[in-house]
Symmetry: C2
DNA sequence: ACCTGAACACCGTTCAAGT
DNA sequence: ACCTGAACACCGTTCAAGT
């Protein structure tokens, strides 16, 4: 009696995403080609389509991986209960992450095609610790805009730093610290400033 | 006597950059291909190399054009002399610009190859009005970090808005206003917050 | 059931040949 | 002096053919 033995996979989705992350880290999104990823996992580019619907679909999985990674680190960082201290810790983690994986960080705030855009829960999960600290500083009513202000500032600052927009001199680490202090003070005081 | 009549250019650098800007505006950086630009100015892609060293070189010219454009609008916006009012005007102009030309705005804070990176003066010129207002709010000593805080926040906020990171609900325009008020208050008060 | 190789449409870029 | 068309190396993606 003859037995059909289907070829077992020579790779896996997990291995492919990990390879994608490795390639992204080293050379950015442009370097994340199907051929390069195929090389890394040991199959031809065309074989990747058995595991992933398209390059955009692979990018999506990689971005979600980056979000999950950052989220876990943020979660572990804000633990003292003192809002100002926790916020500074979150800022430090964000900055470390951005320096460690600039292309990955960049991707978190990049416009992507529909197909490559991460599940909306990815962003929400990663920003939960920031929302918690923002609520502690601004109160429940202003927690959301406060968190948005903090996240926007951090994302913009680190992006500018990595792109090299800070060439007017001055200490960049000091400017980062200045920003956090200004935000803590400002978010506490918002109601004191007239609305127009 | 025979006279050599060299073929006159069928296009020009200016026309090419304008076409590049048009294509960028409509479809983003991925759509900015030599073929597409060639179509628009009426020559083959390979002929563009008589006017531009490479696609990266063309991208650079286009980015510098976007910076110049934004800088001119910012310059025209901060005119009342009242720092808080001027800052809100600058914020409004930035947000309008980002909505009007999301891909162009995005490019201002995108990591580009060396060859595609704009002249450092481009960024400095565009941010001059912000620096002026920051100095009026924070004083000369803190003008630079204050300007960086403001720019970083605006860049990050608008980027997140355009990418669609604000899906938790809430009014985005209100959050933008919240951010400006918080920053004005915070930058004025920075010295009041202990350094650690 | 997975993998390969050929094929297709599309890139950027170079260059000999046309005018 | 500028433009064209062919050519090359590289993409993403599809698919018949192999195992």
């Amino acid at each position: 009696m003859e037995v059909r033995v289907p070829t077992p996979s020579r790779t896996s989705l997990e291995e492919i995403v990990t390879a994608g992350r490795t390639v992204l880290r080293a050379g950015g999104l442009d370097a994340l080609t199907m051929q390069r990823v195929g090389d890394l996992v040991g199959v031809r580019a065309s074989s990747l389509y058995k595991h992933v619907p398209s390059r955009a679909g692979l990018v999506r999985l990689v971005v979600e991986d980056v979000f999950a990674d950052l989220g876990a680190r943020l979660d572990a960082a804000a633990t003292t209960g003192d809002p100002a201290t926790d916020l500074r810790a979150l800022g430090r983690v964000l900055r470390e992450f951005a320096h460690e994986d600039r292309y990955g960080f960049d991707l978190l705030f990049s416009p992507l095609s529909q197909e490559a855009s991460p599940d909306s829960g990815s962003f929400a999960a990663a920003s939960a610790p920031i929302l918690r600290v923002a609520e502690a500083i601004a109160g429940p009513d202003d927690a959301l805009p406060a968190a948005r202000t903090l996240t926007a500032w951090a994302a913009g600052f680190l992006r500018m730093e990595l792109v090299g927009d800070f060439h007017l001199g001055g200490d960049v680490g000091e400017a980062f610290d200045f920003g956090i202090r200004a935000l803590v003070a400002g978010i506490r005081d918002v109601r004191a400033v007239p609305r127009e």
